[in-house]
């Protein structure tokens, strides 16, 4: 069983975002970068699958700048076997990224290709299903738990108002959400071992971005709010304001 997990280097979610002077990009100064949290769930899922079967290989792949090697090492320290860095400038064009990944994965012989259900920087939620389409593979998104049996994968998928149990033949693409897979911490031994694991770097086959960023901005400041009062006695006034002023009730 070979699983390939596609991950992304993103700013830590506690990071304050600062827009660069060009007004079109994020100032990287002072940002702490991490593996996108949903991608960590995907890495954990692949590791658990390998452990439960007692065989298999877990490969992690990313499209990004050289610095993204750090995030691949993090995944290797969790227990992945090897890593591939497809070097390219990150883009908001998810389809360009998907094409670069698909070119690499086309003949890679994966039984499962896993993604986080979204990256927490661009929030586009698109590269996984795009790769599936480009490779002609079945795809199940927003999976909180899955089992592999008899050449099939059975997924528990979070949908509005419930859970769907969905089945697809292998090979398949899944995007993983927070569910059963709580990411493990890398052990010291894992971190040491990761330094010796293979990390292959090559240039991504990246098409020109067709998403053009015109400008970035901060969210509009919300007008200064007010404290209506203290304790339950303030509730009638709050309800009045919500009804008459905010027209929200």
């Amino acid at each position: 069983m070979k699983s390939i997990v596609c991950i992304k280097r993103v700013p830590d979610t506690e990071t304050r975002i600062k827009i660069s002077e060009d007004g079109k990009s994020i100032d990287p100064a002072g940002i702490k970068y991490v593996v996108s949290p949903y991608d960590e769930f995907a890495v954990e899922a692949a590791l658990q699958l390998k452990e439960s079967r007692g065989e298999g290989e877990v490969v992690v792949v990313t499209v990004g700048e050289s610095a993204a090697g750090e995030q691949l090492r993090s995944a290797l320290a969790m227990g992945a076997d090897r890593a591939v860095l497809l070097k390219a400038q990150a883009t908001q064009d998810g389809l360009a990224t998907a094409k670069a990944l698909a070119a690499e994965l086309k003949d890679a012989g994966a039984d499962l290709i896993l993604f986080g259900m979204k990256a927490v920087d661009d929030d586009q939620q698109q590269v996984g299903p795009m790769v599936a389409e480009l490779l002609g593979l079945p795809c199940v998104t927003v999976v909180g738990q899955f089992e592999v049996q008899d050449g099939k994968v059975v997924c528990h998928r979070e949908v509005e108002g419930g859970t769907e149990v969905v089945e697809a033949p292998l090979p398949a693409v899944l995007t993983i959400t927070k569910g059963k897979y709580e990411p493990r911490y890398a052990s010291l031994k894992g971190i040491m071992a990761a330094k010796k694991k293979p990390l292959e770097e090559k240039d991504a086959q990246m098409a020109e971005s067709r998403v053009r960023v015109q400008s970035l901005s901060y969210p509009a400041e919300r007008p200064e709010g007010r404290i209506v009062g203290t304790g339950p006695d303030a509730v009638p006034e709050l309800v009045r304001l919500l009804r008459e002023e905010a027209k929200a009730l």
């Binding site: 700013p11 979610t13 304050r16 975002i17 994020i26 949290p37 949903y38 908001q92 998810g94 389809l95 927490v120 929030d123 939620q125 698109q126 996984g128 299903p129 795009m130 599936a132 389409e133 480009l134 079945p138 795809c139 998104t141 059975v154 949908v159 509005e160 108002g161 419930g162 769907e164 149990v165 969905v166 959400t177 927070k178 971005s209 067709r210 998403v211 960023v213 015109q214 400008s215 970035l216 901060y218 969210p219 919300r222 007008p223 709010g225 007010r226 404290i227 009062g229 203290t230 304790g231 339950p232 303030a234 009638p236 709050l238 309800v239 304001l241 919500l242 905010a246 929200a248 009730l249």
Partner: protein, 328 residues
């Protein structure tokens, strides 16, 4: 002609509210570029009876594809049917809801059509004949204005953000042939387990009651549920990351950068201090109410109205007052 296609969404044969929003947004863009709005709806036999409304929100033409197997969303069936519709229309833009169905469908369709995609747009403008899309980054810590090369420009629109407005058009219903071969679908739904309760998803609700660590434990959620019930059927429960991490509430309710980004009309933050990644996910709510014991909690900085106090005293009173108002 630079026409705009709006992909409407139905559930159990009834159009969802977000479909009106998407058709209205398409109407405004089509007016700016001088084109028509075509709305397309897929569903089981009989769905055509439920789509007349789309004309009222500005659709010039309503394309309806009815087939066995399209009653419920199925990615392979929907993509196959919609690729033909989009290719047949030579559209300037294609809009669909950034609902969980739309976000699953849009990237597959974009890849099949070989066009870039912008997901979860919060604003659209036409400038010099080009569509300029505003969309959040980092769950709303920043916004990008982007343009997409090529046509159609494919964009999913965040629910609750785009105004649904009536703009009556002919809205003639036209049936389309859809090629549906369920025997070829590889992804099959074995069963659907409905979660308890009938509340809407937090990403699409018009009112959200969210709880944080100040609720002290999962056993106290009944008071938030009661407030939600008092508000009515459009209200969903939300949660902060701290309480989801603690296992008090399911991740599907989490609001913030590692959960859902929401834009309801009204957001109650109860016992939530307001970590930066939570604020990013809810700050575009129209009205925010914070209830917190700590007068210095950062949540009060983004709230329109705040009550400093114990949630266990304030929330039941709030439910009571809202019930009085409703029964008024």
């Amino acid at each position: 002609m630079p026409n705009v296609l709006a992909i409407a969404e139905q559930r159990d044969g009834a159009l969802r509210k977000v479909s009106h929003e998407v058709v209205s947004a398409a109407r405004r863009v089509a007016d700016a570029v001088g084109g028509e709005v075509h709305a397309v709806v897929l569903g089981a036999a009989g769905v055509a009876d439920a789509v007349g409304d789309l004309g009222r929100y500005g659709a010039d033409r309503i394309l309806v594809g009815e087939a066995e197997g399209l009653g419920r969303y199925n990615p392979e069936g929907y993509v196959a049917a919609l690729v033909d519709v989009v290719k047949g229309g030579d559209y300037f833009a294609v809009f669909l809801p950034a609902s969980s169905q739309g976000k699953d469908l849009a990237p597959r369709l974009a890849a099949r059509l070989d066009v870039p995609l912008a997901q979860d747009a919060t604003a659209l403008a036409v400038e010099g004949g080009e569509l300029v899309i505003t969309r959040p980054l980092y769950a709303g810590k920043a916004f990008a204005r982007v343009t997409l090369d090529g046509a159609p420009r494919m964009v999913s629109l965040r629910p609750n953000v785009f105004r649904a407005e009536e703009s009556a058009k002919a809205g003639a219903v036209q049936r389309i042939d859809v090629a549906v071969r369920p025997d070829e679908w590889r992804v099959r739904v074995r069963e659907v387990v409905a979660s308890a309760g009938e509340r809407p998803d937090v990403a699409e609700a018009s009112v959200i009651v969210s709880g944080g660590r100040g609720m002290r434990g999962p056993e106290h959620w009944s008071i938030l549920e009661d407030l939600c019930d008092a508000i009515g059927p459009g209200c969903a429960l939300g949660a902060s990351r701290a309480v989801v991490d603690a296992g008090w509430r399911p991740h599907s309710e989490q609001v913030g950068q590692t959960g859902k980004t929401v834009a309801p009309q009204l957001y109650f933050a109860v016992g939530i201090s307001g970590a930066i990644q939570h604020l990013a996910g809810m700050r575009t709510a129209k009205t925010i109410v914070a209830i917190n014991k700590d007068p210095d909690a950062p949540i009060f900085k983004v709230a329109d109205y705040g009550i400093v106090g114990d949630a266990f005293e304030v929330v039941p009173r709030l439910a009571e007052e809202i019930r009085k108002l409703r029964e008024g």
